[in-house]
Amino acid sequence: MIADPVAELTAFARSLRERGVAADASRVIAAAGALDQVDVLDQNQVYWTTRLTLCSEPDDLPRFDAAFAEWFGSGRKQPAVESTVQTTDGAGSSGEGAAGEVERVAATALETLRTRDVAALTAVERAEVRRLIAVLAPSVGTRRSVRRRAGGRAGVDPARTMRTMLRAGGEPIVLAHWRRREKPRRLVLLVDVSGSMAPYADWLLLFAHAAVRVRPFATEVFTVGTRLTRVTRALRLRDPDAALQAAARTVPDWSGGTRLGESLQAFLDRWGQRGAARSAVVVIFSDGWERGGAELLGLQAARLRRLAHAVVWVNPHKGKEGFTPETAGMLAALPYVDALVAGHSAQALAELVAVLAEA
């Protein structure tokens, strides 16, 4: 922050954006204004000021910390940040810490994190799949909202009644009523991107993209594998190719192992219990191949069943001859699943759409 503070700040914001933090122009302006208010020679103050103005969600914080350390060096006391990041998802950081690591996208030598190259799909395949999936419009039904609208017979609407009375010189000629509105039920898709699901992951994410396109703000998409990653934001991009590429950049554990139980727990701790799964239709795309014990998966599936309106399990192997649900994870979760459907082909995905519409 010596030569040209504004240029420096802009460049810093650019490096944040490259890391996936939504530090747009209006936030940079806010940051510049905020830096005006504090002591810019105190690195702690600069840290907090830029963090307060440039970040906007917990997932941003580790990325911000990394960028800040790279940009301004680490003359700052570190512990404060460490603890901040840890508690972001302290709830799910048991065991090998599936949840705790979710956000450290850039990190770790613990496992080989292969970033999936979506471009490896041939153009012909992509076009074909896109056509097939574009005609699918996966969405679930509606649920009653607490909001009201005019009409119906649910109750008297005093404000509108008053206005009609005024027009009639104070006589209550017509009683205005209200009725409840309907709102779309939330749809949550959990896509298993582990190695055993690799042949299907692209298809399923395209399907998820179609669902997000139908109802962008009533649909949430996560990938599960060794960790939980939220890809809703990436999938909101209009173009399927761009959306899939953005999702692939976000997901660190493509074609890795499976810790379904822990991932599901992370989902429930961080999102599900707080509201994302409540009265929602939750769809799990997985073959139920679980590396860890299946006991945890069973417990979490039971928990999910208590929160959600309906739980649908999509197992691509169900489409094969003589399928019996025999992977340990599948067996553990099965009692808590409302519907088990295939989903290995475009036809099967179309059937899934029908199941969802009725869920």
């Binding site: 302290g90 005024l166 707080r274």
Partner: protein, 290 residues
């Protein structure tokens, strides 16, 4: 009427401290910038880390009234902004009929019920706390954004109400859903984390002065251990204080196995969590505390 100015961040931190809220550096900076830049402050964090308490302390510090708007699904303008007092309007209308008065006076300020947002604009200075904004729906968020952008409210029948000094706005969210970017862009964003051990000890002693120092320390260490244990609902600061209170009321001066077990219900509210804590956390904790 304007707000007192704080020269720098430590000055505000000291004032918050005196008001009974122990801020860490991040919280102090957030509060400082919220006052100086008059930008809404969006606080997120696990339940029970003191998001709401910060708004209260901020109101105390700047000598403003705290106006609280608790959000819930389906909240709309008539519950958040203003509503007309229909029974009184009707009575007035009847009276006016007899006396031949002007019916337009039915929409007069005295028939207007000020809900929290309007109230925060009318009583200046004020701190407006929009609690759990994530529980309200998209429509309400858009509406709130409008009010925050203008710092004014337009009532069609009355005109625009614009305060001399806009309120300090604090929004809290538990992240049950993602807020729209347009709203976030307007705010300063702060993730409130659980306090470190020393700070938590200090907070417990602040709220429970009669708790022995040793016990406060043990409670803080215990709560920190519970937060690491992967519980369904990790305890917040409020639960930590409750636990300390419960232990004090039972006459405990230090954390023992029977006392901890008897009071666990003040700390953990899920059966699974109590089982996990008794099995995995307490034995190790008690051994460590010796």
């Amino acid at each position: 009427m304007s707000y007192p100015e704080f020269g720098d961040i430590p000055a505000l931190a000291a004032a918050l401290d005196a008001a009974g809220y122990l801020p860490d550096e991040g919280v102090a900076t957030a509060a400082y910038l919220a006052i100086r830049m008059r930008r809404p402050l969006l606080l997120e964090g696990d339940p029970g880390v003191g998001k709401t308490a910060l708004a209260q302390a901020l109101a105390d510090v700047v000598g403003a009234e705290l106006v609280r708007l608790s959000c819930y699904e389906g909240i709309d303008a008539s519950q958040a902004l203003y509503d007309w007092d229909f029974p009184r309007q009707l009575l007035h209308l009847r009276a006016a009929e007899d006396g031949g008065g002007d019916e337009r006076s039915v929409y007069d300020r005295r028939f207007l019920i000020a809900r929290p947002i309007l109230r925060a604009l009318e009583v200046s200075p004020a701190v407006l706390l929009v609690d759990e904004i994530d529980r309200a729906d998209d429509e309400f968020e858009a509406f709130l954004l409008e009010v925050l952008a203008d710092n004014a409210v337009t009532i069609p029948e009355l005109g625009t109400i614009r305060p001399a000094e806009p309120p300090i706005v604090v929004l809290t969210s538990n992240r049950t859903r993602e807020l729209h970017d347009a709203l976030k862009r307007r705010c300063l964003y702060h993730w409130v984390s659980h306090p470190d051990l020393e700070r938590e000890v200090e907070i417990i002693r602040r709220h429970e002065p009669e708790v022995a120092d040793r016990l406060a320390r043990q409670v803080a260490a215990g709560v920190a251990a519970m937060r690491e244990a992967g519980l369904v609902k990790p305890p917040g600061i409020a639960e930590a204080i409750d636990w300390a209170t419960a232990l004090r009321l039972l006459g405990a001066t230090e954390l023992t196995a029977p006392a901890a077990r008897a009071t666990l219900g003040a700390l953990l509210k899920y059966r699974e969590d109590q089982v996990t804590a008794e099995r995995d956390v307490l034995p190790g904790l008690l051994a460590r505390l010796g």
